[in-house]
């Protein structure tokens, strides 16, 4: 694998989307804003091409040489070589796989957005801004993935956060969108604060920030200057980094921003808040395996957070009526699966689930967008139904995505989710049970959504001219559904993905002391040990789909009755466990109240203080101004006196 080629491809992957963003904005200056999707499609598509190229090169290299760290240039060097900050990339199987996923899904979403952001072939207001932000996001995400040190990782991390903020608040005139953007930004701030501290602690401990040196030093068990690593330092770093991951990947307790983020345009939800950005936390934990696996307690924390989030979000998704909200909670739940996978040392399975999830969740979101587009912006499933005749193609694609998400046998989600549950069972029975129960719920709510939207008698909101979407929308759906159906096959037979990822995540494997991704196989052989769980979870998924069918197509009166029988449960679930309200009461309101007190203090005390503090410079400024009165004599006097004072000072000193 030639380092030069890797280097060039990496640069192109970054620069092409950036160039696309710039051109999209510049086009507007020439009143060509209508066409601003073209530079972005080419930029992001070009990035996808080179990402595939990188994957190809990594695959073609020998296993021992699949990891290439290339320094583009030194950003700052302060003396000793160890304290150089380089602009450097790390290309290895993990980043190659992430790159392909990110750029590929991005390309399709950008193509999709071309029609989605138009109404009757008139571009929406801010059309070019939208595409420029999308391209900027791809640039940021690729920076995050390609980063070869923590500094660059942090830069990408913050940049994607910024893009997310800008895109959630794309309709900034809408108060709810502006509020959601603010919420996302602030909640992420909490996580990023920990993340930043973690990186500082890494620098403090090891005196450098690039992956290779840090991980090497951890392996050797030394800190900066050859000293021994302080007790518990790695666990502390891991927990701080985990803070960032929990915020970015919407895990308990910081998941609250993600459902609200659906206020952004649907392509944004599909790309940033389902397929790519929110998986950054998973990527980061997988990348920092050396840090996380050093402490089994931290791994347990990761697993428990993941399992709890998966279950918690799935229960909420059971009763939501907004199609995008169902998908949002489902995303939170699936991210929980990935964390569960990481926590039980199955990083390969977690990344594999990330990979398949990107396809089917993007597909589902984009289908929901297609429905929304057809329904004139209405997304409440109670207001429409039986759309399978009106939107035949959307229905088919959406169904494929739903089957994948539900874990229907031999669809992509089936393989990846099953692996995680399998590993969870090997680690701890209860973790496995949570995974299985969540899987059943997933199948149920997914098909509840499908049946409510597409089956039953046809109902279309009044005044809406329902129509199937155009080819710009259907083409990405088609491509993604191919991925949703077949992406799982890259893993079977033989767990190829896990073996491929091995060089990047071997610490998980080493720490677990078992062969990666095949824990079960190493423990027990035989048909049932290997396929039993698979058959059971496949069967359960089908069963849950059947129940959903009965409840929402056959006995439509039953859900209502169930809600009446257990009104409290329903209300609690419908209101998302009142977490937002609880946060509101426990955090936001007190903060506001203290904010008001602070505001009072600020206005009367701090402002007074600031006034006093600035009064000093202002007074001095005024005094100096009076010196600058314009009279020559005083100028000359000050000058000569000043000189005399300095002479005296120097002589006396």
């Amino acid at each position: 694998m030639s380092e030069n080629n890797i280097h060039d491809c990496s640069m192109l992957i970054l620069l092409l989307p950036l160039l696309g963003a710039v051109v999209a904005i510049v086009l507007r200056q020439f009143r060509l804003g209508d066409h601003s999707h073209w530079p972005v499609i080419f930029g992001v598509g070009g990035a996808a091409f080179f990402a595939l190229n990188i994957l190809w090169m990594v695959l073609g290299a020998e296993v021992g040489q699949r990891s290439v760290q290339s320094v583009i240039y030194t950003w700052i060097s302060t003396g000793a070589a160890s304290s150089w900050f380089n602009f450097e990339f790390l290309v290895d199987p993990l980043s190659a796989m992430m790159l392909v996923t990110v750029t590929f899904v991005s390309t399709l979403v950008v193509i999709y957005a071309r029609d989605y952001m138009r109404h009757d072939d008139h571009p929406e207001r801010g059309y070019e801004r939208f595409f420029a932000f999308l391209a900027l996001f791809v640039f940021s995400m690729c920076t995050l993935v390609l980063a070869g040190n923590f500094l660059l990782l942090y830069m990408g991390w913050e940049l994607v956060g910024l893009c997310s903020y800008l895109l959630i608040g794309f309709y900034y005139n809408k108060p709810s969108a502006a509020a959601a953007a603010k919420k996302a930004f602030l909640v992420n701030r909490i996580g990023d604060f920990g993340f930043g501290l973690g990186i500082l602690l890494i620098y403090w401990t090891f005196g450098c920030l690039d992956y290779a040196s840090v991980f090497h030093m951890i392996e050797e068990g030394v800190a900066a200057g050859g000293q021994a690593l302080p007790e518990g330092r790695l666990a502390m770093i891991a927990l701080l980094l985990l803070c960032g991951a929990v915020g970015k990947s919407a895990q308990l307790p910081l998941y609250v921003w993600l459902p609200d983020a659906m206020e952004g345009p649907t392509p944004v939800s599909a790309l940033i808040h389902a397929a790519t950005m929110v998986t950054a936390g998973v990527y980061m934990v997988a990348r920092c395996g050396a840090i996380f696996t050093a402490s089994p307690a931290v791994m347990t924390v990761v697993a428990i957070i993941g399992a709890a989030t998966a279950l918690f979000a799935a229960t909420i998704a059971l009763v939501q009526n907004d199609m995008k909200r169902v998908l949002a909670y489902s995303t939170v739940s699936q991210l929980g699966y990935m964390f569960l996978g990481l926590g039980v040392y199955a990083a390969g399975s977690a990344v594999f689930h990330l990979f398949t999830h990107a396809f089917f969740k993007a597909l589902l979101f984009l289908s929901a967008g297609s429905v929304m587009h057809a329904m004139g912006g209405i997304i409440d499933m109670r207001k429409f139904g039986g759309l399978r005749k009106v939107l035949p193609w959307t229905y088919r694609f959406c169904l494929l995505g739903a089957l994948a998400l539900a874990g229907f046998p031999f669809f992509s989600g089936f393989f990846s989710k099953d692996e995680i549950i399998h590993h969870a069972f090997n680690q701890n029975f209860w973790l496995g049970m949570v995974g299985s129960v969540t899987a059943v719920m997933t199948a149920f709510y997914t098909f509840r959504m499908i049946f409510m939207t597409f089956h039953g008698p046809e109902r279309i909101p009044e005044g809406v001219h329902a129509h199937e979407s155009g080819k710009w929308i259907l083409f990405p759906l088609g491509v993604l559904s191919i991925g949703a159906v077949f992406a799982g096959l890259v893993q079977v037979p033989g767990e190829k993905v896990n073996h491929f990822l091995e060089p990047a995540i071997h610490q998980f494997h080493a720490a677990h002391g078992l062969l990666l991704g095949a824990a079960g196989h190493a423990v027990a052989h035989g048909f049932w040990a290997e396929y039993g769980l698979m058959i059971i979870s496949g069967g359960l998924a089908i069963l849950a789909i059947g129940v959903a069918y009965l409840l929402h197509v056959r006995w439509e009166w039953l859900p209502g009755l169930l809600a009446d029988v257990a009104p409290k449960t329903h209300r609690v679930l419908y209101n998302k466990y009142y977490v937002d309200e609880a946060y509101d009461a426990a955090v936001v309101k007190p903060l506001r109240k203290s904010g008001r007190i602070c505001f009072g203090i600020d206005q009367y005390f701090v402002d007074g203080l600031v006034f006093m503090v600035t009064a000093v410079p202002r007074l001095l400024g005024a005094m100096l101004r009076s010196l600058q009165g314009g009279a020559m004599q005083s100028y000359g006097l000050t000058m000569v006196t000043g000189l005399a004072i300095i002479v005296l000072l120097v002589l006396l000193a």
Partner: protein, 536 residues
Amino acid sequence: MNQLLGQAWIPEGVDLFRFSPELTLVATIVLVLAVPMIMGRSARLVGGIVMLGIAAAGWLTWRVAAEVSGQGVAGMSPDPASAMLLVDNLSCFFKLILFFFAACVTGMWWMGSSASERNAPEFFVLLLGTALGMALMVGTLNMLLIVIAIELASLPSYAIVAFEKRDRAAAEVSLKYAIFGAISAAIMLYGISLLYGLYQSLSFVEVADGIATDLATGRNGVIIAVALLCFFCGIGFKISAVPFHFWCPDAFQGARIEVTTWLSVVSKAAGLILLMRLVHALAAAAGAEMISALAPLAWGIGILAMLTCTVGNLSAYMQTSVKRMLAYSSIAHAGYMLMVVAILAVPGSVGAASAVSALLVYISIYLFMNLGAFGVVALVYWHTGSDSINAFSGLIRRAPWLAIPMLCCLMSLVGLPPFAGFMGKFWILYALAEQGDAASWLYWTLFVVAVLNTLISLYYYMRVVVKMMLADDGQESVRAPAAGTIMVNLCGLLLIAMLIWAQPIKHFADRFSTNLYSAPVLTVDVGTIDQTTAHP
């Protein structure tokens, strides 16, 4: 001088080549005066000649830089031991900056003033005259030539500040500027004459040797201190160090904006580099055993730097004219740069290399920040006729392509990332911290003062940003010439690019700051003096 006249010395070809950028400037001045007599006083024609002349001078400097890069200093003098003119990496670096900046300022003039300009030849004679003076300032250690160079840089600037003859305010500030210049020149000449009286030499290298001997034996302490301070006071006037700064805000506000831009960067940079050379020569002559003897010098420059920085920033607080605010800001920035010079006052200092290179980086970055900021002020001024802060209200709507580069430049002037000003401050603070660890707590004091000043400066720069971005009183949009818009946007982009490529810029500066140390003129006889003085 007698010797020079008596032998009718004729410089060699290679000396002439090394001196060719300055000679090109002289030729351009002659052409600017002569050609309009034949071909008519067209402003554009004059501008074209000037551009060509500057380009030629810049190209020659580049050639000279390549030639001298290995061997350090070359002298232009019949007596090799006492060079009149020095050509080394440092002077080449500054001249490159100078000519580049001259081209930019000429470009500004072309956009804003050339249409109504009736005295183009005179304008450029004055402008190029100051440029010639500055080019000489950075290329000499001969005290006579230092005086001539400073006066050559100053006299035309008095006149060019008052170039709008009918403008009473301009005439007034010009007069003040001239009187100040006269006072400080007098003080400086007093100091120089004291030095000449003490050591009977005009070469500062020899003077520095004499000072080192005297300090080692404890003779003439008071008179040396007074003489040096008076000498440096003249340079302090050029870089508008407090308390010699009074001319600066008035002159900058009264002058045409392209003149202000010009003076705000290069005139200070030239003074700083000259001061750096002098201080370095002193430190080199003194040698590492005499750190304490030179401590008053370090403290003197350090205190001046702190004062300059703080007074500049504080005075900028209440300004309502953006142009005047930027004038005060330029005083403050001279203060930051002066802090670095204090590092050089420590003989054998470990931090000298990073100090010189930090200063060069800072000057290169400062050039673009100021060019961009003054450029936007100019474009707004040409349209609205006002440089008050209110003219910037709602600029993001009225002229987004002016507001954005202005934002970049102002943030960069504060020293915030992701703009290059951050790197400039970073290297200065780094050099100070390095020196603070190695030498004296003076440098940690300077460090703290620099950081506090950055905080203070945030306020007044952001005042403009807030006005541009958040306030809007519905003024009409600003129409700016395309070339000007492109120029200021390039400055903004460059400021980001110079942060992204921070290390290459630093390497570039490192390369140009090295041979200051291997200069044969500077190291002459240092060893023998040390031996004779340390063990008499």
